[in-house]
């Protein structure tokens, strides 16, 4: 450890203040601080600090994502082999999935981090860790057969337009990962919807039914999966969204560590369940009569509400606001599913919509506090007058 530290210190010399490569210091620091928590001491303010930092927070989210990712990789292979009818083992399925998905993750990280590093150097701040999560989320919410260059383009769009254009980490209005998906969704619709994209190499196999459950319902078809299958996740869909079971495992990690807001998650489930239930009562079409419980486990709802809606930067920031925001994400998700047959999956658009309104929600929550204070001032003035 001592040896490694000394090597690093020598390596960093040309990046020190006043040296030749000073401008590139954020790049080397990003690597260094991954090996060692730096020796910086408090200079002003509190003299002692909590052990938590942004790296630890973001890594906790990545840990929470792993169960869904591993299952997603397996499910990719499982869907492929069950369509072709070949016999396969768990390992076969996993390898097939990994062969597809690992390159997507690599492309996402390489393109995204390159842009992040460039902006850190250009703006002269340290590299923020937020992209570690975004960069993993983006491949996880894409269809498996999307070409890698589309992944790269979506990532570039999301980081540049959704994040850096607004000032970088902490300033963005929209969730960058969902922006990437929305970009791909509207720019390359044939790769992002329909019944050919959800199962790997589906085009090669004749007559397969690789449609998602929501897609089937929107087209007026019949769903042949039991609720348990939908919950456990062996169904077609975006890479890591299908298994509500493993998403819940991640949710437990996030809630137990306090990294993501349970208020948003609970609010979202309540909103979706309520609207789903009301539609069940109405029951005018297949999607309306689709049980509200099933609505909670199919499609990207679980994944979205646990990992995307809870992004602290683009969500509401006040505690009360988080309840309202989460609830409305759930409500709009089901509304879009039921009323808009062009978009059988509603959670992406619901979250993006609420991202836009989150500051408004916060504004009214904070305004409540302000007007309470102003009222107190006014009544105090009356008393003295």
């Amino acid at each position: 450890m001592e040896f490694l530290r000394n090597r690093l210190d020598t390596l960093k010399k040309p990046f020190a203040k006043g040296e030749k490569l000073e401008k590139f210091a954020p790049a080397i620091n990003a690597f260094d601080t991954f090996l060692f928590v730096p020796n910086h001491t408090t200079q002003k303010g509190a003299h002692i600090r909590d052990a938590v930092d942004l790296k630890r927070t973001m890594v906790t989210v990545i840990i929470a994502l792993l169960p869904a990712l591993v299952y997603g990789i397996y499910n990719t292979g499982y869907q492929y082999y069950s369509q072709t009818g070949e016999t396969f083992t768990f390992l076969d399925a996993f390898i097939h999935g990994a062969w597809k998905i690992v390159p997507m993750i690599a492309v996402s990280y390489i393109v995204g981090l390159a842009i992040e590093f460039a902006f850190a150097i250009y703006r002269g701040h340290e590299v923020n860790e937020g992209y570690l999560v975004t960069g993993l989320l983006i491949p996880m919410i894409m269809p498996v057969d999307i070409p890698l260059w589309m992944v790269a383009l979506s990532v570039a769009f999301a980081v540049l337009i959704a994040k850096e254009a607004f000032g970088g980490t902490g300033m963005n209005i929209l969730n960058p990962a969902l922006t990437a998906r929305a970009f791909a969704f509207f720019a390359y619709p044939t790769y992002m919807s329909g019944n050919k994209v959800w199962v790997s190499e589906a085009g090669a196999v004749d007559g397969i039914s690789g449609e998602t459950i929501l897609g089937t319902l929107a087209a007026g078809g019949q769903v042949n999966y039991s609720m348990f299958e939908m919950f456990q996740g062996a169904i077609p869909g975006s890479i890591a969204e299908t298994s509500t079971l493993w998403v819940l495992a991640g949710a437990l990690v996030l809630i137990a560590t306090g990294v993501a807001s349970w208020r948003i998650m609970v609010g979202g489930v309540l909103g979706a369940a309520l609207v789903g239930f009301l539609f069940n009562l109405w029951g005018a079409n297949a999607l309306m009569s689709f049980s509200w419980m099933n609505h909670l486990v199919v499609g990207g709802f679980a994944f979205g509400i646990v990992f995307m809606a809870t992004d602290p930067v683009s969500a509401a920031q006040t505690q009360k606001g988080k309840w309202i925001y989460g609830f409305l994400v759930g409500v709009f998700c089901i509304l879009i599913r039921v009323f808009n047959p062009a978009y059988p999956e509603g959670v992406m658009l619901a979250i993006l919509l609420m991202n836009v309104f989150a500051p408004t929600i916060d504004h009214y929550v904070v305004e409540g506090n302000i007007s309470k204070r102003k009222k107190r001032w006014a009544s105090a003035q009356l008393k003295t007058a």
Partner: protein, 450 residues
């Protein structure tokens, strides 16, 4: 008889090195220092020069904006040095103790019958700076009439002192001081004390006794004031520290200014943490010796507690408002992969990404490592967990950052002082310097609104 304040949000950090309840009377210090930085937003104007003879109670400097506010020498002696920093800013005035000259004031009954006379005596004696004003945490303006006066004896900061223990030999002077304070306001003098043990504070007359329960920052005046008499635009509430009530009381009994200061030397870099009775501005070094400061490694000596105090050199002097000197090791070391969740559980953490809560029974060893680097504000909701006031801390911080005075006012800048954000400094993931931001915000308010 008492009203309760119960605080739920906050955090009680249990650190090693709590001062043992041994009260030593310290040897008189060789030099004493007055440090203008102890008085927020005060511009000092010197009343003496190097080499001048001063008595105990002779003005050393006064406030440039209000020359009636004087800061006086705690001892008789000679002005040894005026230490200046950048732009000739006065950092401290050092007085070498010598002789026993004392400035005596006439405190007879007829000379203190009116509020004006009392204020005049407080001003000329040098006792006035003991009275601080909210909003802004500055020395009070003698022309104001405060809505209320608060004396908080419930100290909740890490390693903080037990005022009941510290003042139990000064009961009579404390009562005398309280009686003076009651003359200064038409409202109440609130005396808050620890709900679990109020000691002699529960017997003090002419005050509104309030018991307080809850974790830090329950002892902070801002938190208590918001519950007792929230500050509106234009309101003034005065705050006096418990030992300064004693100092005021003693002055009105003897006519002589006596800046008694009892400090606890505490923290995990001293082997024998304990209390010392000395005077304002005394040298710290001899006390650190008796408390057996760790000299084997670099340490940080802090005037005040580890969350809100000011770092000083180990040959420095005790601050004007300090009852606590914290000494902790410096933390300029690397920790390999220390950012992984559940790594480094010996570091106290309020986050559930650490198992530190399992290891805190005997108190935590702390150092000054930042445990990360400053980042953009990302995580939300964590500030509210340690901030028990009815104020949105992150929104207020952002309003201060962009210097939006109207927003700051609306979000409650009058009700807070920078020390209220000490726990936020400590706990926030992005390592934002919240106290610094609030301090700058308040400086802006003083400049623009007054």
């Amino acid at each position: 008889m008492s009203n309760d304040i119960r605080i739920r949000r906050g955090a009680q950090l249990k650190l090693r090195g709590q001062a043992e309840k041994i009260l030593n009377v310290a040897e008189p210090s060789k030099t004493y220092a007055l440090q203008p930085d102890d008085f927020f937003a005060t511009t000092p104007k010197l009343a003496v020069r190097e080499g001048d003879q001063v008595a105990q109670g002779t003005p050393i400097f006064f406030d440039k904006k209000d020359p009636r506010i004087q800061f006086v020498s705690p001892v008789s002696g000679v002005v040894q040095a005026v230490v200046r920093g950048a732009k000739r800013k006065i950092l401290k005035v050092v007085i070498a103790a010598e002789g026993s000259r004392q400035q005596k004031h006439n405190v007879s009954a007829e000379n203190r019958s009116s509020r004006e006379q009392i204020i005049d005596l407080l001003l000329t004696s040098g006792c006035w700076p003991f009275i601080k004003q909210r909003p802004y945490d500055v020395v009070a303006n003698p022309d104001d009439k405060p809505q209320a006066i608060l004396v908080s004896t419930y100290a909740t900061a890490p390693l903080d002192v037990d005022f009941e223990f510290l003042l139990k030999n000064n009961k009579a002077e404390f009562q005398a001081g309280v009686d003076v304070l009651t003359k200064l306001t038409d409202g109440s003098v609130f005396l808050t004390y620890d709900n679990s043990f109020g000691g002699f504070f529960t017997e003090v007359q002419n005050v509104k006794p309030i018991s307080v329960k809850g974790p830090h920052p329950a002892g902070d005046p801002s938190v208590q004031i918001q519950k007792l008499c929230p500050i509106n635009s234009g309101d003034r509430v005065w705050v006096v520290r418990p030992e300064d009530v004693v100092n005021i009381g003693r002055f009105f009994e003897t006519g002589i200014y006596d800046g008694q200061r009892t400090v606890a030397i505490a923290g995990n870099a001293v082997a024998a943490p304990q209390y010392f009775q000395t005077k304002i501005g005394a040298e710290i070094a001899p006390l650190l010796d008796i408390a057996q400061m760790d000299t084997s490694r670099p340490v940080r000596v802090i005037n005040g507690n580890v969350l809100t105090g000011t770092a000083i050199a180990s040959d420095g002097h005790i601050g004007f408002y300090n009852n606590l000197v914290s000494v902790i090791p410096e933390g300029n070391h690397y920790r390999m992969f220390g950012w992984l969740p559940f790594v480094g559980n010996h570091i106290p953490s309020l986050s559930n990404t650490s198992l530190s809560w399992l290891f805190g029974k005997k108190g935590y060893e702390v150092d000054t490592n930042l445990n990360g680097e400053e980042r953009a504000l990302v995580v939300t909701g964590e500030m509210e967990k340690v901030f028990p006031m009815d104020i949105y801390p992150m929104q207020l911080l952002k309003a201060c950052m962009v210097e939006d005075i109207e927003k700051m006012e609306a979000l409650g800048i009058y009700e807070v002082v920078s020390e209220d954000f000490g726990l936020i400094d400590y706990a926030n993931t992005s390592k934002i310097e919240a106290q610094e931001i609030i301090r700058k915000g308040i400086e802006l308010m003083i400049k623009e609104v007054g």
